[in-house]
């Protein structure tokens, strides 16, 4: 089957996600051919050093997402604390302070649902380690839109509830270890460069 070219990767996680992100993003080259949008549950303090910590281990650019900015390749955008991150059809980022979803703001579901709308089949959605069910519904939206769905192996994830909930909702999702995910993301680049 000839699948749609991938235009973006969206990732969600909670407890244990920082470590997981180190593992899967650190080997991506500086000029990685895709943008990566990330929502991780963080305490709602305004200042977050999450992006900086991640940046210190990565070659791709990592920074906090800003409202209305255009997404660029080779860059990972992190949802700021206390705001939902969404992506618009024209490839710009949007923030919202709509009510929390499953007690979380930012919420993974919000990012994933917007990505399903914006990119249709041309997006990869990944649910990492975490301790609640956020992300499951959003991953389903990506699946319904024909996108690629991947779940971190709940058997080896730091916290299994989040990937397990995603897997229960999206039975078709690939189940990858972090090492497999790292390889997958790296190879995805070549594919998207055609």
């Amino acid at each position: 089957m000839n699948r749609a070219p991938i235009k973006a990767v969206v990732i969600g996680g909670s407890a244990g996600a920082l470590q997981a992100l180190f593992t899967i993003l650190r080997d991506l080259p500086e000029n990685y051919a895709l943008p990566i949008l990330i929502t991780v549950h963080l305490p709602p303090e305004r200042k977050s050093i999450f992006a900086e910590i991640l940046q210190s281990k990565c070659q791709i650019t990592v920074r906090e997402a800003q409202d209305k900015e255009s997404v660029s390749i080779g860059t990972a955008y992190i949802a700021p604390p206390d705001y939902h991150l969404l992506v618009e059809k024209e490839g710009t980022l949007a923030l919202s302070s709509d009510e929390p979803v499953l007690h979380s703001r930012p919420a993974i579901d919000v990012l994933f649902e917007s990505a399903a709308d914006a990119y249709g089949p041309s997006v990869v959605g990944i649910v990492l380690s975490g301790a609640n069910a956020d992300g499951a519904k959003g991953l389903k939206s990506i699946e319904n839109a024909g996108g690629v769905t991947i779940v971190e192996d709940p058997g080896t994830a730091y916290a299994s509830a989040m990937p397990q909930a995603a897997l229960d909702t999206c039975s078709e999702a690939f189940v990858f270890s972090l090492d497999q995910l790292a390889v997958y993301l790296k190879n995805l680049e070549g594919e998207s460069r055609i």
């Binding site: 800003q66 209305k68 700021p80 302070s97 709509d98 709308d117």
Partner: protein
Amino acid sequence: MNDVLEDLEIRLLLEALYERYHYDFRSYAQASIKRRLRQVREKLGFPSFSAMLEGLLHDTTVLPHVLGYLTVQVSEMFRDPTYFRAIREKVIPHLRTYPSLKVWVAGCSTGEEVHSLAILFREEGLEQRTMFYATDISQDALKAASSGIYGLDRIKLFTQNHQRSGGKSSLSDYYSAAYGMASFDKTLRERVVFADHSLVTDAVFGEMHLISCRNVLIYFDRTLQDRTLKLFGDSLVRKGFLGLGAKESLRFSNQMGSFLDFDKEERIYQKRGS
């Protein structure tokens, strides 16, 4: 493709809201408005946006629900305490130099922010020379705002925020608690005018010294953001202040030239003096 069809339905729905009821959401940022419309569609049990459009046009009971989802924003008192600290410590000294003051909370929603500012101005001894204008397009929000009643479960957070903002009194001085609700003192609203005003379609609002508009612009598209910021510029006295949400800025706006950074970190701007 389904998706294209859905986008068309949403465009028609927003057009109908405008033509029939004069609520203009056509220049709102797409992803968020779509999300909210989906929520209300699910809640009201319409199978499609077309069906909701029909309901909206022929059944007047549908409108308040739709508006409720499209407009109501839950905020906190003293949300982002450092913002209110900056108002207190940096903006207030300038405001003290005026014999009378006008403050506009644009997009006041259920009133947490205007109550916060009224308390702050009282603590700073400026309340009696200030008129506050709290505006929103939602009648329900304005009604809630002018009642000043909030769930008691939110008071702990409000109190923490107030203290962290440099509050000089105790928040408990301003409300009485009963039946799980905190009812804020009506004297806080004596100098507040609650009014229906749309940033999309309405005009300049008077000679303001401070405009606070937080987490409203993120819901607008760029064109509407620029229009709104121009409206704010035109509504401020020279050297008046504009406070935005923590993740909003003038950086990408064509109105940047009318303002100076006053407190960059807290997104507080000052209108140029000439």
